[in-house]
Structures are given as structure tokens and as C-alpha cells.
Symmetry: C2
Subunit: 308 residues, 2 copies
Amino acid sequence: MLVVLTGGTGGAKLIEGLAVEIDPAELAIICNTGDDAVFHGLYVSPDIDTIIYTLAGLSDSEKGWGIRGDTFTTLEQLRRLGNAAWFNLGDKDLATHITRTKLLKEGLKLCEVTERIRRQLGVQARILPMSDERVETRVQTPQGELSFQEFFVKERWAREVTSVSFVGAEQAQPAPGVLDAIHRAQAIVVCPSNPITSIGPILAVPGIRSALKQVSAPVLGVSPIIGGAAISGPAHKLMVASGFAASAAGVAGCYADFLDTLLIDDEDCPAVPAVEAFKVMAICTNIRMGDIAAKRRLAREVLALVKK
Amino acid sequence: MLVVLTGGTGGAKLIEGLAVEIDPAELAIICNTGDDAVFHGLYVSPDIDTIIYTLAGLSDSEKGWGIRGDTFTTLEQLRRLGNAAWFNLGDKDLATHITRTKLLKEGLKLCEVTERIRRQLGVQARILPMSDERVETRVQTPQGELSFQEFFVKERWAREVTSVSFVGAEQAQPAPGVLDAIHRAQAIVVCPSNPITSIGPILAVPGIRSALKQVSAPVLGVSPIIGGAAISGPAHKLMVASGFAASAAGVAGCYADFLDTLLIDDEDCPAVPAVEAFKVMAICTNIRMGDIAAKRRLAREVLALVKK
């Protein structure tokens, strides 16, 4: 059993490769829910959805979110009805949020809802929300606090960031199956996701970080940073705001207490000593995943390393 | 001020005509909400929506429900996600239900939500739900009880009906503005809607029927029945189950205690004595409304009669 910690876009690329290279039933994917938000009364879980859509073969890999070929008829009409509609929700995508909201209202836990949706879409990998409780990533800026989606989507991550917090994390529990999956894992992979706002919320749920420290199985990460910036998104900006360097070494710093190995880009080979100063082994390779061939190649490298 | 009592399809035709023939701001439309139902966690108010869409120029007059040219992308995906999707909800239409559900959850009353939606869609007529409280039309059959939508849409009104009830009606209050509109009305029109399940729930809300009896303004109805059957839908079947004849005279019987005049079809002229036996004046005319010209013509006849 391979356990994967992930956010959305970047993590989905590696997971797409992994799910081809091994039996997807052998994958347990622990997903960030710190970005979850309610739009128009509907509970949206962007990272879980990106992973499910990716594994169901529905994802829009051009845009990095949503369902391929989706239309936006309902959203346009929501706008016409006076709703603020800055968060893109496609018509097919909305069916997921409507279903999730209904099932949560009926009393199901987020983990149960996720299980039902992924099975219904034919996804074989287990998808585990980090927690069934609400943990909300908040971004502090000199002009006030924003939710992650306000910062990331509405403001296009343009604002200066002073710090990031995870409201509710201290009271949250890992979702059923999360700690068990970590303890039973033959290997653990930390995806090339934002260390602060994708992996950070997962690690903030009490019990998960300490479980990762305890396991004897290898824990391998893939850097989301090349040079001084994220391959996509605002990871570098948020890392600096959280006291880490915007670099491969900064990623190692985020995970130093539990990570054995970090794959960094060939371009970052000069950073190997800085990574290894955190007692994390650094391996240089091509970590860009521009197409399915590259995703599979990187997945094979990851699998070869953790099977050693 | 003209007050109109209505259900969906049939009533919408006359209202479409009325809104052309007089200033729509002079119309106060009291809508049935006994058919309201929750689908996929979304609060759907079919008659209010049909009236709003009609007056906003959005309605699908071919189908008699929903928005013209609407697509069904979300509904298809809801089906794929394992939801029973026998009630048609178009993508644009869904925006109404999502907005309504959100606003109700935020604590707004149904009348406030209705007001907001109709204004946002540029509808000038006042649209008043009969009540802000839940009144649920239930249809009793030998095989058990159904909600109105289960009977009407899911079962295509094929089942035998033994009786009809309005759960919650006794505890309900007329929505704000309903009784006031009736008392101030210069005339009241009962649309050619189903007397049992469209007008019936309105009359079942305590205070509305007695207000209609008290007013000195003329109260005029248009029959939804020609010969022994409804122009569309199951009115005749439900009238018989409720102890009325399936005829123009049966319609007069439903409203005998407050109706002054009933417009019946030329075809039903032989029924004039039977209608007038209820002390309701019968006027024969062409009550079919196949196109906008027919809707306007009947609306003009109605207006001429109540202005006398």
C-alpha cells in the first residue's frame, strides 16, 4: 500500500502517473481539505475533486481544475440572479458539490461522501480527506485576512502575505483510515504540492505529523519548487511568509522532521548540500510533468526509490 | 390592483396575457406552494418559478415548465453520481433553486427570496407565495401516499387517487402581503389552474378563503376544464377524488362560496344552468390559450368583466 499526501494540481499530476504505474487499488490518497469552501450554499472540496476527476479520467489538465469540456450555464445564471460568482463552477462539477452538500446535510461524514463519489465515478484508489472536521486555511495580509480561495482565486494571489493559519486544526481529528493508512504504508509519498497550504493543513491535523515521524516505511517527497519559484501557484510566496526559503532547501525544511528523501529538479542540483543539511537525502532528476509520459516517468522513479 | 390566484402552467398562460394588457406593476400574484419539494437538497418552488420565468420572458411555453433552451448537464451528472433524477431541472433553472436554498438557509423567508429573485429577473408584478410556511400537497392512492411531484411527474398522474390533503396547512399563515392584497384588490381572478392541487392549497391556508368571501371586489374564475377533462394535467381526476364533478359545474362547486363569475368554454355552454345552480354567474367564451394572441384576448375579456 502506497500512501500519498496531496493538494490539487501539482499532486494530481504525480498521482495520475502513479495510478498508471501501479494498481490504483494499492493507493491511499490523503487529501488537503483546508481549501474547502461554501459557494452559493454548496460545499466545495477543490483538492478532493481534482484528485477524483483526475483518476476518473475527467479532469481538465489544461486548466488544472474542473471537468474537461464542462460548461458554465448555471454559474452565468447565478450571476444574473445577483450572486458573486468569482469561483468557477462548471455544470458537471456542480453535480459533485450538490451531491456532497446533500449527503453532508443528511449526516454523512466527509470521508463517507468522498468514498461514495469516487466509487460512483469508478475511481479505484482510496481517497481520504485529511479530516472530517472543518480546518480552514486563512491567509493574513496587511489589508486583512482572506480565505485561501479568496487569496488564490479572487485576488489571484497578488497580495502580500504576512502569515498563514489553519483555523480549527487544533480541534480536528484525522479522518477514519488516515492514521491507519500511514501506519500500514509500505511507503509514503509527499506530492509536489504547496508545502504551506496544501500539505501544511494535512500536517496541522493533530496526530498526522507524529505518525509520519514514527513510521519506519520510507517517506519521499517531490519538490514543487524549481529555482526560487513554484512550478505553478504561490508556494514560494507562502513559504517565505511562513519563514522558509523559497527553494528546494526550503521544502526540505518544511518536512525535515519526517522526510527521508526529496526529489529536486536537475536545475537545483547545487542545492543538494542545503537540502541534506536538513538530514534529508536529495536526489536530482527532471521533476517537470508536462505530459502523461513525464508523469509516468517521474512516478516510476518515485516507485523505484521507495521500493529499494 | 388586480389580485390573481394561480398554480403553474394554466395560470401562467392567463397571467402572460394579463401582464401585456395592463401595467404588470398593478398585478399581485398569489402562488401555490403546495407542490414545492426538495430535490438533491435544493428547494424547488415549481409554480412560483413558472410564473417568474413567464413574466421574465424566459419560460419554455412548449414544455410548460422550465427555461427556454435550457440544458441538462448538471442533472445528467447527478444521475451519474447515483442520484434519482426523475424531476427535470435544467442548468439555468438550477441557479434559481441554488439561490433560493442558499437564501432560505441564511434565514430569509420564502416571500423575501421570491421578491429578490423576481426583481433580479426584471419581473415587475408582485409574486407572493401563499405562505412562508411549508404546506405539502399529498396524494392518497390505494398503493399509498405520494407527494404531488411523485404523483404528477414521477408517476405521470397514472395512479388512482382516493383523496388529497394539505399537510401543514392548518398551522400555516398567509405570507405577508397576501391578505392585504386581497382586501385592497379592485378585482380578484382565479386562474384556470387545478382547483384541487393548485388553487386548493392556497384556499387551505387559514384566512385566505374567508378573506375572499368577505371582499366586495368582483371575484372571477376561468375554468381549467373543458367537457369532462382538464385542458392539461390531472385536474378532472383530482376533482372527482375530492368529491366534485369533472366539469365546469364542478369548478363552480369548488369555489361556490366566494366566486361571482366563472368563464367557461363555449363547448360547455350547456353547463351554464349547472354552474349557476352554485350561484355563480357563467359566461361562455373560448378559454383555450394556444398562443399569445389567445392569451391576450382572454385576458382582455377577463379585464372587461371585472371592470364593469
